[in-house]
Structures are given as structure tokens and as C-alpha cells.
Amino acid sequence: METLLALTIGALTGAAIYLMLAGNLMRFIFGLVLISNAANLTIFAAGRLTEGAPPLIAEGADTLTGTAANALPQALVLTAIVIGFGLFAFAIVLVFRAWTTLGTLEPDEMRLAEPPEARP
């Protein structure tokens, strides 16, 4: 599955980048969500995949018995998901503000600071 997941992550990343390059802020946010999912999966996969054995120490035991999933990447991914959500929410607010203030979702048309005719 690790090989399969690695290839899938590559595809997700590619799709995310294509979306981020679209020049439309809504597609950019879609790309952002996609790429943070891909990043989380990358961290998770890099710690190797172990099927069906969560890193929980059984009642009565002092340490893990048998193989269990790698706990370290899970801890990293867990916080990354929450931070990713914060980032997503902030981005969505920013895009919405841009829309209500500037009336467009195309960043190339947001030329308030650099009006195109002012260029030499």
C-alpha cells in the first residue's frame, strides 16, 4: 500500500498545484485544502503504514505488545490538521474580503496598489 499511497499523494499534489495556478482565488483555496491533505498523508506515510493496530497500550500492560502503528507521525499530523483548518479559515475570510472589497476573485485584476497603466 505504501507504493500505492505514494503515487496517490503525487497525484494529489499535482492536482493541488494545478488548481493553485488557476488564477482564481476559489480554485486556489481548493488547491490549498488538497495540498494540505497531501502533506498530511505524506507525513503519515513516511512513518510507514501498519494496518489496524492503533498505538494504544492495552489495559494491564506496561508497553505496546506486538506491532502497532507509528505514533510519532500521528501526533504531528493531528496538530497539522487543526492548524491547516485555521489556515483554511483565514484564507477563506481573506478571499471573501477581497471579493467584497475589490469585486473580483481574479488576483490579476486586483491592481489597486499597482495600476497597470502606471507601469513604465
Partner: protein, 756 residues
């Protein structure tokens, strides 16, 4: 270009209070101090003084006073005192005189530091200080655009040369193993044989030639006449432009005597001398004409520094002094004329002799010295120049010819500048009716001109005090000093002098037709000054072009560049490090795994391909759920729950915000973006496969697994890591969450719906 001060009429002597007097006193005190060193230096001793500056870098404030540096120091402080006295009246009542006096005094002190420094780095520091202060002085009338432009031009040219100079100094210090100048001078032979000799020489000459405005860097000096006239008198006759000459002279004992030194200095000096004297005759603005004769003098001095003979060195030392005296005097005279009449145009001026008799006499004496008539010092200087030129072993005819032509032209220019305005009848009404200048303005030209006459009559005084010690500094031995005399018998130099007078008077008599001919000839030559403007325009256009290309202002371009850079970095890393053998193994994949991958891929594909917001958001949800399922299947219940909860919240936010945004337009296919995205995606997959093929370092995980219950009393290892083992990290992360929430909140609250 007219000096801005000429607009204010009727100057009052000493009109700026203590701000005007203080610098004069300072300069005079410096002059007296240097003069008191004369006996010791004339007796052959070399004065040294030093203090630590940055001991850890081996830098020290080292001062060296020998004949050469003392001659320069006396010229700088002496002429400086007279010029400051003159300026105080010339710019009387100028609202920014304090600034002017500060710049001029700062310049004088930097210049003194430059000629007294005994350390290469110290020398460079003062060198750059003179560049900056002269920039401020040339641009003193900063309201005028030409003034600003010319100041900037002088700064660019001399600062560019200064960079080359710095590189040369570093190489020189490296080659010599010391930055102490007196030590470097002692190892001339070793330096000349050093592999770095040629680079050092080229870089130092680049610095000296730009500073001293030698061809082909001569174009900035006439433009620098935008400065007030006292500045021109000080910087562009006696001091700053001679910094390059000083450097050549200082390095003469260490670097001269090679073919490169000889030919570079001889040829460029000769070309500058002749070319500049032709340009000088062409000018009708008195100040411009003087500016070009300064170039001529600098060329001649360079020419002599190319040689090694005692005659050439004596000629150099003498002409250095002669030129400073008469040129400063004449600049100051032109300032007086400008002030009195309101113009500097040679063709307008006439009949001033009656109204300004003292100025006229001072001008005449200085001009006689410049033209080289006996019994003035200029005559002795000229005789020595011929003697020095004839002593050039390789090409005496060429060098003497160049000196002859430039001397003759100089004579003609002296007549145009200092004789015609006073003694020919006026050709028309002047902008202002002239009158004699106040004593403070007259004292400069009078004293300087008188010194030229006195030293001509008593050359041995000058010989003993300044010329001989200077020549000793240059050659290292008193035996090479040639005597200064008015009458040296009938010899070749005298014949050449006579020829000069005939030729020069002829040039003067026919200078107007000559001028038209020169005008016609030079107008066909490409102008370096215009070339400079084109160069700057080109530079600006290049900057604008590259800004347009790089800073397009388009987010897509920036993102493209960012992702492309990431791709290149990853690819370069793979190229450099190579990939481990990839463990590509799909045999263990069950149908669940395939279904999960298919779910993720389908979601991503739909998000990209969909033109509908709702469909795209739903597809994103599919990816999110697919990710959560991966976490569940592979033993990460905590992560999976978090992912699912966050997915729920994302749906809420999307419902609140995104659906109020306009509908998506259909995305056209973008081949370049698709190629980049595919390449980067493939690279990420490749890197991940490589990571998965490498052995896993389980040390941290093993520790957490072993310590979770016995030490931290927790059975859920993930949570124990979060809140105990790595609590500080978690704290940082929740702080980020708070900041993100508060930022978004602030963004929503402060700019409430104000659509512009």
C-alpha cells in the same frame, strides 16, 4: 550653467558671521601647522605618527609626512584657507552657507587625510570621503537639475573608479603582505615581479584616472563646474582631481619603471593634455575653458609620472605647485568677474581693466605664469617640462611635441581667460556694471598670483622647501633633484620655449577662427557626455525591463516561479544525491487499499475538472473523507476523528462563505501549468518512494512507546506525545491556532463590507 550665487548682488565682506570665519581660521591654523614641519622635512627627515584604530584587523591611523605629502598638504590647507575666505564673501548671506562651509571643510580635511595616510585602508577611506564630499559640493545648488545630474555623474564615475581602486589596494596589500604604505614602497622590486602586478596596476590606474579625469573618463570634470566657483577653484584645480595624481606619485617608487606603467601613463597623459587643451580653446565660458586647461595640466602631470628621470620628477614637482597657484587664482578671478558682471561669456566680456584694476593685475600675473612667460614661476615650470620631456629615453620627440602643442594652446587660453576680458574694448552692454570685488575676495587671487611671481624670482626658496623634498620622495635620492633657475643658458628647452611663445601668440591671435574650426570638428565627434546619458537611460530601461519581466504583478507568475524553483531544487537534489533503489511493491495491496486510492484520485480529479462550486466542494469532501479512511485503516483513530471533525467544520465554513462568492467560470486547459504540476507531483511521489525505500529510524517512536505508560501514565501514545512529551511544540501550535482565529476575526471586524 551659471553659479547660483551670481544672482545675489553686492556681496558684503565676511557676511556669514562665525560660521564663515571659523573654517578660515581652522584652515589657516592647519596651514601654519604644516608650514612648521617644513624645516624638518626639507632637511630630509620623514615624520611618522600612528595610533591603533582597529587592532584586531591590523588597521591603524598611520600618518606619513614626507616631501610629497607635505607639498600636497600645504597646497590643500593654504588654498583651502584662501578659498574659504573667498567663499565667505562670494556666498555672503546665502541661506545655506553653513552647509556649504561644512562640506568644504569636511572635504579639505578628507583631502588632507588622503595625502597624509600611511595605510592603504585609511587612504581608501579618505579617498571615498573626498568623493562623497565633492558630490555634495558639486550638487550644492541642488534646486537646479543640471547640478544634480552632474553631481551624480561625478559621483558615479569616481565611485566606480573607487571600487576598482579598493580592489587594487586589497590586491596590493595582499601582494606586499602589509597595508603600511611606507613598507610597501620599500619593496618595489618584489612587487614589480609579483604575479599580481598587472591586475594591481590596472585597478589602481582605473581609480586614479577616474579621479583625475584622464581620457577617457574626462567628461565629468567640465560638468562638475556646476558647483559654485570657489568649489571649482578648490576641488577642480588644486585638490581633488590631484588625488589621482597624488596616488600615482605615491606609488611611483613601488610600481613605476615597467613598460606597462611607462606607456600607459605616457600615452594617456599625452593624449589628455593635447585633447584637453584643444577643448579648452573651443570654450567661450571662462570657467569651462579653465576646467579643460586643468585636464591638460593633469594629463601633463600623469605624463611625467610615467617617467623616471630626475628631470621629469623635478618637472612634476614644480608644475604641480605652479599649476595649483595660477589655476586657483584664475578660477577665483573668474568668480570675481562673474560676480561683478553677471556673465562668464568670453565674447561678451571686455573693458574690465578700468573697473577692476586689482583683479586685472592679479589675473595678468597668474596668466603670465600659466602662459609660461619669464620671470614667473610658470616659465621655470615650462623649461623643466621641456627638459623632462627631452629626457624621456624612448620617445623624446613625441612627448616634447605633445608638451609643446599643449603649452602653446595653454598660452592662448590664458590670453582668452585673463587678458581679453580686461583689456579689449567691451563688445556690448554687460548684464551688470562691474566694480572691484571686496578685499576678502581679492586676497585669494592676489596672494596666489604674487606667490607665482615671487617663486619665479627666487626659485631656490621653493626648490629647497618643497621641490627637492618631493623629488626625494619620488626617487629616493637627493642626487636626482634638478635645479630650478630662470636662466639656464641657451639650450634645447629655451628654444622650445621660444617656439611655444610664437606658436601660442599665433593661436591667440587667430583663436576665433580656430575656435569655429574646432567647434565644427568636435561636433562631429561622438560626445562621451551624451553617451553617458544614453548609458544611464539604457541602465534604467534595463532595470525597468527586468522588473517588468520578474515583477509582473501577477500572482500566477509568482506561484509558477515558486513551484518551478521547488521542482528545480528537488530535481537538483535527486541529481546530486542519486536515488536509493526504489522498493516499488504493490503486491500487498488489497482491494480496500485500491478502493481508497481510487476514492482519493477521483475526488482530486473531480475538484480539478469541475466547473461547479458545489461539485468541487463535494469532491474535496470526498478527498477529506478518503484521507480520514486512510487514517482509520492504518491505525490512527485520533487522527481520523480529528480529520472527520475538521471536514465537518470545513463544510460549514464553505457553506457560509464560498457559496456567497460568484460561480466559477470554466477553467480552460493550461498546458504549461499542467506540465509543471505533473512534474512536481511526480517528483513528490519519487521523493516519497525514495524515503519509503530507506530504512526507518524508529528511535523516537521506540522511546515514546516504552516510556508512555511507565513515565507519563498514558495508554494513548499519540495523546501522550501531544500533551506531555512534546507539550512545548503543541503549545506553539495552539498559539498558531489562536492567532489564525484572531486574525481572521480582526479582518472580518475592521473592514466591514466597505466596497470601494
Amino acid at each position: 550653467m551659471s553659479a547660483p550665487a551670481s544672482e545675489s548682488a553686492a556681496p558684503a565682506p565676511l557676511g556669514n558671521g562665525w560660521v564663515g570665519v571659523l573654517p578660515v581660521v581652522l584652515a589657516a591654523a592647519l596651514f601654519a601647522g604644516f608650514a612648521s614641519m617644513l624645516p624638518a622635512v626639507a632637511a630630509g627627515s620623514v615624520l611618522r605618527w600612528q595610533a591603533d584604530w582597529v587592532p584586531s584587523l591590523g588597521l591603524s591611523l598611520a600618518v606619513l609626512v614626507d616631501g610629497l605629502s607635505l607639498t600636497f598638504a600645504l597646497l590643500i590647507s593654504g588654498i583651502g584657507a584662501l578659498v574659504l575666505l573667498y567663499s565667505n564673501t562670494y556666498l555672503a548671506g546665502h541661506p545655506q552657507y553653513g552647509r556649504f562651509a561644512l562640506y568644504l571643510t569636511a572635504f579639505m580635511v578628507s583631502m588632507l587625510g588622503l595625502v597624509l595616510a600611511d595605510d592603504l585602508i585609511l587612504l581608501f577611506v579618505f579617498w571615498e570621503l573626498t568623493t562623497f564630499t565633492s558630490y555634495l559640493l558639486i550638487g550644492f545648488s541642488h534646486e537646479a537639475e543640471t547640478s544634480r545630474r552632474n553631481a551624480l555623474q561625478a559621483l558615479f564615475v569616481t565611485a566606480a573608479g573607487g571600487l576598482a581602486f579598493l580592489a587594487g589596494l586589497i590586491l596590493l596589500g595582499f601582494a606586499a603582505g602589509t597595508t603600511r604604505i611606507s613598507d610597501i614602497l620599500a619593496q618595489g622590486d618584489a612587487l614589480k615581479a609579483h604575479a599580481l602586478y598587472l591586475p594591481i596596476l590596472v585597478l589602481l590606474l582605473a581609480g586614479a584616472f577616474t579621479k583625475s579625469a584622464q581620457v577617457p573618463f574626462h567628461f565629468w570634470l567640465p560638468n562638475a563646474m556646476a558647483a559654485p566657483t570657489p568649489v571649482s577653484a578648490f576641488l577642480h584645480s588644486a585638490t581633488m582631481v590631484k588625488a589621482g595624481i597624488y596616488l600615482l606619485a605615491r606609488m611611483h617608487p613601488a610600481l613605476s619603471g615597467t613598460g606597462v606603467w611607462l606607456w600607459t601613463l605616457t600615452i594617456l597623459g599625452a593624449v589628455t593634455a593635447v585633447f584637453a587643451s584643444l577643448l579648452a580653446l573651443r570654450q567661450t565660458d571662462l570657467k569651462q575653458a579653465l576646467a579643460y586647461t586643468t585636464l591638460m595640466a593633469l594629463g601633463t602631470l600623469t605624463l611625467f609620472l610615467g617617467q623616471e628621470s630626475g628631470y621629469a620628477m623635478t618637472a612634476f614637482a614644480t608644475f604641480l605647485i605652479v599649476h595649483s597657484l595660477y589655476k586657483a587664482a584664475l578660477f577665483l578671478v573668474v568668480g570675481c568677474i562673474d560676480k561683478a558682471t553677471g556673465t562668464r561669456e568670453a565674447e561678451l566680456l571686455g573693458g574690465l581693466g578700468r573697473a577692476m584694476p586689482i583683479t586685472a593685475i592679479a589675473a595678468a600675473v597668474a596668466a603670465m605664469s600659466m602662459a609660461g612667460f619669464p620671470p614667473f614661476l610658470g616659465f621655470i615650470g615650462k623649461e623643466l617640462k621641456y627638459a623632462g620631456a627631452l629626457a624621456v629615453a624612448s620617445e623624446p620627440v613625441l612627448v616634447a611635441g605633445a608638451v609643446l602643442v599643449s603649452n602653446a594652446l595653454m598660452l592662448a587660453v590664458a590670453g582668452v581667460v585673463a587678458f581679453r576680458p580686461f583689456w579689449r574694448p567691451a563688445s556690448g552692454p554687460l548684464p551688470r556694471s562691474p566694480g572691484e570685488a571686496p578685499w576678502a575676495m581679492l586676497s585669494g587671487p592676489v596672494i596666489l598670483a604674487a606667490l607665482g611671481a615671487l617663486f619665479g624670482l627666487y626659485p631656490d626658496v621653493l626648490q629647497r622647501a618643497l621641490v627637492a623634498p618631493t623629488v626625494v620622495s619620488l626617487t629616493g635620492t637627493p642626487a636626482e633633484v634638478k635645479e630650478l633657475k630662470l636662466w639656464a643658458g641657451i639650450n634645447m628647452p629655451l628654444v622650445l620655449s621660444a617656439t611655444t611663445f610664437v606658436l601660442g601668440l599665433a593661436f591667440y591671435a587667430w583663436h576665433r577662427p580656430l575656435r569655429s574650426a574646432l567647434e565644427a570638428a568636435f561636433s562631429r565627434l561622438p560626445s562621451l557626455d551624451a553617451g553617458w546619458d544614453r548609458f544611464l537611460d539604457g541602465l534604467k530601461a534595463l532595470a525597468a525591463w527586468q522588473t517588468r519581466v520578474i515583477q509582473t504583478g501577477r500572482l500566477t507568475d509568482y506561484l509558477f516561479a515558486t513551484f518551478a524553483t521547488i521542482l528545480l531544487g528537488l530535481a537538483a537534489g535527486i541529481m546530486a544525491g542519486g536515488l536509493p533503489p526504489l522498493a516499488i511493491d504493490v503486491s500487498g495491496a488489497t482491494w480496500v487499499h485500491v478502493a481508497l486510492a481510487a476514492l482519493l484520485l477521483a475526488g482530486a480529479g473531480l475538484t480539478v475538472g469541475s466547473a461547479s462550486r458545489i461539485a468541487a466542494i463535494a469532491a474535496l469532501g470526498v478527498v477529506g473523507i478518503g484521507t480520514a479512511l486512510v487514517f482509520i485503516v492504518f491505525g490512527a483513530p485520533d487522527v481520523a476523528i480529528t480529520q472527520l471533525l475538521v471536514e465537518t467544520l470545513v463544510v460549514v465554513l464553505v457553506a457560509v462563505a464560498l457559496l456567497r462568492l460568484p460561480a466559477l467560470a470554466r477553467d480552460r486547459f493550461r498546458p504549461a501549468h499542467a506540465a509543471l504540476a505533473t512534474a512536481l507531483g511526480a517528483t513528490v511521489a519519487l521523493v516519497l518512494l525514495a524515503v519509503l525505500s530507506a530504512p526507518l529510524d524508529r528511535r523516537l517512536t521506540d522511546y515514546f512507546e516504552a516510556a508512555s505508560w511507565p513515565e507519563a501514565y498514558g495508554r494513548n501514545i499519540v495523546n501522550v506525545i501531544l500533551v506531555d512529551f512534546r507539550a512545548l511544540d503543541t503549545f506553539g501550535e495552539i498559539a498558531v491556532v489562536v492567532i489564525a482565529a484572531l486574525s481572521a476575526y480582526a479582518l472580518l471586524r475592521t473592514t466591514k463590507g466597505d466596497r470601494t
